[in-house]
Symmetry: C2
Subunit: 397 residues, 2 copies
Amino acid sequence: MAEELKIEQKFIDEAKMLCRGAEILPDGFMGLAYKLQKAHNENRPLRVKLGLDPTRPDLHLGHSVVMRKLKQFQDLGHQVVLIVGGATAMVGDPSGKSETRPALSKEQVEENAKSYFEQMSNVVDIKRAEVTNNADWLHSMSFVEMLKLATSTTVAKMLTRDDFAKRYEEGRPISVVEFFYPLMQAYDSVAVKADIELGGTDQRFNLLMGRDVQAHYGFEDFQLAMLLPLIEGTDGQVKMSKTYPEHCISFTDSPKDMYGKLMSIPDELMPKYYLLLTDLDFNKDNNPRDEKMRLAYEIVRMYKGEDDAKTAQNDFVNVVQKKCIPEDIEEIKLDEPQNILDLLLKLGFVQSKGEARRLIAGGGVKFEGEKVASTDFLIDKSGVLQGGKRKYAKIIF
Amino acid sequence: MAEELKIEQKFIDEAKMLCRGAEILPDGFMGLAYKLQKAHNENRPLRVKLGLDPTRPDLHLGHSVVMRKLKQFQDLGHQVVLIVGGATAMVGDPSGKSETRPALSKEQVEENAKSYFEQMSNVVDIKRAEVTNNADWLHSMSFVEMLKLATSTTVAKMLTRDDFAKRYEEGRPISVVEFFYPLMQAYDSVAVKADIELGGTDQRFNLLMGRDVQAHYGFEDFQLAMLLPLIEGTDGQVKMSKTYPEHCISFTDSPKDMYGKLMSIPDELMPKYYLLLTDLDFNKDNNPRDEKMRLAYEIVRMYKGEDDAKTAQNDFVNVVQKKCIPEDIEEIKLDEPQNILDLLLKLGFVQSKGEARRLIAGGGVKFEGEKVASTDFLIDKSGVLQGGKRKYAKIIF
């Protein structure tokens, strides 16, 4: 950070606001304040980069953490630059990871990106964002240019990345091509002239690599890295992910589901959700149940609006807290007896028979108020079927 | 090696002959016999690959070891494929090595390659060889193709290469691009469909990598690696190299120099020179001096012809063994006294003043039969100047 630049209080305040819940490398929020001041002096917006993985287009509240930051930058007049990782998506990921990513066609990438942006527009003003695809510059890279890129860092440095270090240590293979992924992501920062790049804390290495590669390509100022914590799913156990749909809150979830899932989080998770998913401050002196309702209400309001938030809240109070069955439940007419697993799946209470089995095993399925104990259970008469805490259907024969 | 192929004795004999002084991986000479038989059955020649480094176009006897093998393959009707490393030469070598290679222009590469081939034609029939430049396929490689190449091996495997292992161990940097050099060399074996690749024993890793990469590209048979020992310079200390011209025998050396240098090798080096530089067998029961003269005569004969070999031998007997001054020595007229260092350099007895100083310090410089003891010595009268064992000039004032 150059010492001679005088930083106005205004930009220090903005930097502090932008840093809420985030880590800035290097130099913390003052590094960001410096960038804000410099851009102001140069009468230009900051270029705020986010790379998108078009192989996973299902967005959830976990993604909103970084997207909310983008929106804050937009509100301050800065330029958001979204980079669809088309180049890498079209190559696929040959790494030794358990989940290997398949190569996608150009059309699939575009379709996924479109869906991604639609969902993102819940938070970010996509129309004002600069949308790019790194296939545009990476696919046309020549042999000599790629070798130049590969000279920008060393093997030893690459092997300091946590996952590489771990795999190397454990004797698990790392394909040479995997060294190219961080290099390509870093080169994107050269191509779009990023001033700051956002990412999860798991992106620390890649985002800092962007600085090295910008230096290698003769930049005078290097991008800052803004790292945002990954949030846990509603069970508070592991990172929120579509892999565990019951603990994942999607933008497409109904207001009722969203509210209900948020009410199911462990109390310890509340401060983090407040910090990263809302602009509200967690109040530790409040009754935890009330504080959780305030959180759930706020998040549903943000994504679904005030009316839906109210309805969801009322419903929750009626159904869960007063333990009564909601009035507007779905009716389904059956002509013949049906196995409980098939029925739960048909009703959309579960995503798979495996989930249905787990739900039954956990005592979460009731028919006419009685727990269903067996996966062989047959529904052969009219009655109310309950799956989990919040899902009901009226079966009619 | 497939078991079902019956290998004729003829090909076993050929393989044994070709393996003289060489190591074949995998499976030793039987691996080669199998290839020879298979090519014969398929009625095609073997494709015998050698990669050339066009940044170092000065050839010497050290290079002849592998070139002699190429000639043997040619004599058996096989196809020699020479690959000029244009792609890599034009990139340069950014590694942490002490001698960094500069990037060469396309024209420089072509010029060096031309000189290389001229010198090679002392041994190999260049007209019958297939001459290629890997820039032809590497420079046109796309981003996706390069990533495909990079998936063919792992970081851990790369770090087993001796020099990489050593540098990684010692904390010296290895640029990521350096991982590409063995991959590119290996890809050349895909491009030219090599059945066998020749190289020095320091090429073991790279040549075996060729097999892995051929497998990655779906080949059914992989190339054999033929490894040839590096020979020491005439002092028997380090690898023969132009860096030490006094211990290096170039194709362009005069018959007299070549003969004299060969006569200066330590006795222990004779068996290796016989094995790798000639078709003759070393006879340990012979008088070492006679055996060394037979070696020197044979090598001068190979590169300069019978007549020059005889003259060189006679000269050597007269000058060195009978300690008399040869008759046909150069005369040089001086107008004013001259410093001994300058004069040695001017006469071409040495390549540098440093070499001149060493020669004087070692007692190798005589004027009129008297050892020159000081580097300040002035030649100010007529007389015979001797530099080293075999160089004379008549100074005339």
